[in-house]
């Protein structure tokens, strides 16, 4: 199949455009989506699909998320750009109660497609209220699917999968990867299934379980470690709900050592669940504790140097891997 090199945000946008062409029930709404779009993804959407389907909204995040629930229940397929993952906390009732539970609490099992785009993570000084990783919320509160693509191709493929999924999806796009480039399939039927991890690097000595912004960093650390004779397997989860436990457990039961890496604050982040569950399920396969490398348990400073020091560096990942290998 043919492919094309493009940026992460552009690929996510392309996934959206392709699906909008084939499904008239999809519409996009968010602050500035019609006038250009913040993260480059929605450029030109309004001219192709018209202002009926590409809707600029005011500064009302709770309304945005709540309308997604209402529109999805009546069968439309809203895509909402929430601007920043931090704003999950502004629209929490609408996302983690309404979108997640409306069908459940009414005892009605109907398809309900809605994609909530949460750009997460640091991007160079956006500050403590525009840089958080909030994906763990979607793991703790049941009823939603949760994805975090790490490559342009996954951004496209997961967006397309989300728009064909009969359940609401929290689509966490990685702010720090917005302009990262890569090969992207141009096949209009190419999708990345929700709930399937990838293994971008195979290895025998230890398993690095990661996703999002930390995938390229983990791969870079693995390259360095390869030179030192430490052979890392790197798993890119891609989806956090459902999480591909088969892939994770199969790998760790082979390597017998695991660490989890993410940008989200370490304490009570996704890595806590992953570490807890690995040791719960295959304790006697482990030769060492499951280690975690996560963001500092502090708000993100506005200062971009301090910000960079607040999230895991390639060195920090490599150091932890060395430590894990040595145990």
């Amino acid at each position: 199949m043919s492919s094309e090199v493009m940026g992460y945000n552009a690929a996510m946008g392309l996934g959206l455009v392709e699906e909008m062409r084939r499904d008239a029930e999809i519409f996009v709404l968010g602050q500035g989506v019609a006038t250009g779009g913040w993260f480059g993804a929605e450029k030109g959407l309004a001219s192709e699909f018209g202002l009926d389907r590409v809707i600029d909204c005011g500064i009302s995040e709770a309304f945005e998320a709540g309308l997604a629930a209402g529109a999805a229940i009546v069968g439309m397929k809203p895509v909402i750009n929430m601007g920043f993952g931090d704003f999950a906390l502004i629209a929490g009732d609408e996302i983690y109660h309404k979108l997640a539970k409306w069908r459940y609490m009414h005892g009605l099992d109907v398809p309900m497609t809605a994609v909530i785009i949460f750009p997460i993570g640091t991007m160079g000084g956006a500050g403590p209220e525009h840089s958080s990783c909030t994906e763990v919320l979607g793991m703790h509160f049941p009823g939603l699917k949760v994805v975090v693509p790490s490559t342009p191709e996954d951004a496209k493929g997961l967006m397309k999968a989300a728009l064909r999924e009969p359940n609401p999806v929290l689509f966490h796009s990685v702010q720090g990867l917005g302009w990262a480039r890569g090969e992207v399939s141009t096949d209009p039927e190419f999708i990345v299934p929700i709930g399937k991890a990838a293994t971008p690097r195979q290895g025998r000595d230890l398993t690095i379980v990661t996703y999002g912004s930390m995938v390229p960093r983990s791969l870079e650390a693995a390259d360095t470690l390869a030179g030192e004779g430490i052979d890392c397997e790197v798993i890119d989860l891609r989806s956090l709900v459902p999480l591909d436990w088969d892939c994770v457990l199969e790998s760790v039961s082979r390597t017998n050592r695991a660490m989890v890496v993410h940008e989200a604050a370490k304490t009570a982040g996704p890595g806590a669940e992953i570490a807890a569950q690995i040791q719960e399920r295959i304790f006697f396969d482990l030769e060492a504790p499951v280690l975690r490398v996560g963001g500092k348990d502090f708000p993100l400073p506005q200062h971009s140097d301090l910000e960079a020091m607040s999230i895991p560096s390639v060195d920090a990942i490599a150091d932890t891997a060395r430590r894990l290998f040595a145990i």
Partner: protein, 315 residues
């Protein structure tokens, strides 16, 4: 606006009588079977839901709040689904998940459900109204809420956009002057929720909430306006909460003379019926509710598998 025709009036009275019979039954059920306080009695307020739903089309979208049962009944749900749900039985609307706070929905007749975090219906109704604008399907969305719930931020966020975009949306307030035991005036700059309409440049209509026909007419007008593409309306029905906030609330905070000039909405509507059909209809409704109650009592309880149902849809 034309008044409802005699057949519609009878249907309204029938539904109001069903809702009232459920109220009466739930009072007894609560007392005799120590039913939990999660039932919020709607007696006294039935004219608002019955009048409003009568003015809607079958496929208009209704998002309601959780007092009483008259919204769901008014929009056409069977009493059995409601009672089965209240009793937590498998034959109820939620198929076993229920037991107090209403989460009754039937999408085929536009009963879209209730959110127990008050104020959650505004953006959801905004969403179905936006869907109607995109699809040009001529449907109207109605968001029902209590006076206290007018203070939620979602009230504002949704109406700012609904008014700007002229969405086919009706905000329908049941103003009973109380939030649990707090008087509205303690926490609101106005006793008239309709005043908030001024900020959005939309009509704010106050109606006699004890008179189902007055409510019908106001809602009819608002729905017509919405369908003409002229945007949202805020209707405020002045209603009376006849009982406590929840089943069992001793209501010490209410004044002795509060009900001195109380007009029962059932009586007000009965007086508008032809001949003496009221009595007959009320009896039929009572019988219907009694039968549904017996059926609910006999219906099976849910088992643990119900807990894991309806979370994700599998294609």
């Amino acid at each position: 606006m034309p008044a409802p025709d005699p057949a519609l009036l009878e249907q309204m009275f029938h539904r109001m009588s069903v809702a009232r019979a459920i109220e009466r039954l739930m009072l007894v059920h609560t007392r005799e079977r120590k039913f939990s306080g999660w039932w919020h009695p709607g007696e006294g307020q039935e004219a608002a839901p019955i009048g409003a739903t009568a003015a809607l089309e079958r496929d208009d979208y209704l998002w309601y709040q959780g007092r009483g049962s008259a919204w769901a009944i008014g929009k056409g749900m069977a009493a059995g689904l409601i009672l089965g749900d209240l009793l937590g039985k498998m034959n109820g609307a939620t198929r076993g998940k229920g037991g107090g706070v209403p989460h009754w929905a039937d999408y085929s007749i536009g009963v879209m459900g209730e959110g127990a975090t008050l104020g959650s219906v505004y953006p959801l109704a905004g969403g179905s109204a936006l869907a109607s604008r995109i699809r040009k399907d001529g449907r109207v969305s109605l968001a029902d809420f209590g006076d206290g719930t007018s203070a939620r931020g979602t009230f504002h966020e949704t109406m700012v956009h609904a008014a700007a975009w002229k969405l086919p949306l009706i905000y329908f307030c049941e103003n009973n002057g109380l939030l649990v035991g707090t008087r509205l005036g303690e926490v609101s700059p106005t006793e008239n929720i309709a005043d908030f309409a001024k900020g959005y440049g939309i009509p704010g209509i106050i109606v006699d909430g004890q008179d189902a026909v007055a409510v019908y007419e106001a809602t009819r007008e608002a729905a017509a306006r919405a369908r003409r593409g002229e945007g949202p309306t805020l209707i405020e029905a002045k209603v009376v909460r006849r009982h406590g906030h929840y089943a069992g609330d001793p209501q010490k905070y209410r004044a002795d003379d509060e009900f001195d000039d109380y007009r029962d909405p059932v009586d007000v509507l009965a007086a508008r019926l032809r001949g003496n059909s009221a009595e007959r209809i009320a009896q039929e409704a009572e019988a219907e509710v009694k039968a549904a109650y017996e059926e609910a009592l006999a219906a099976p309880e849910p088992d643990a598998s119900v807990i894991e149902r309806d979370l994700y849809h599998v294609q």
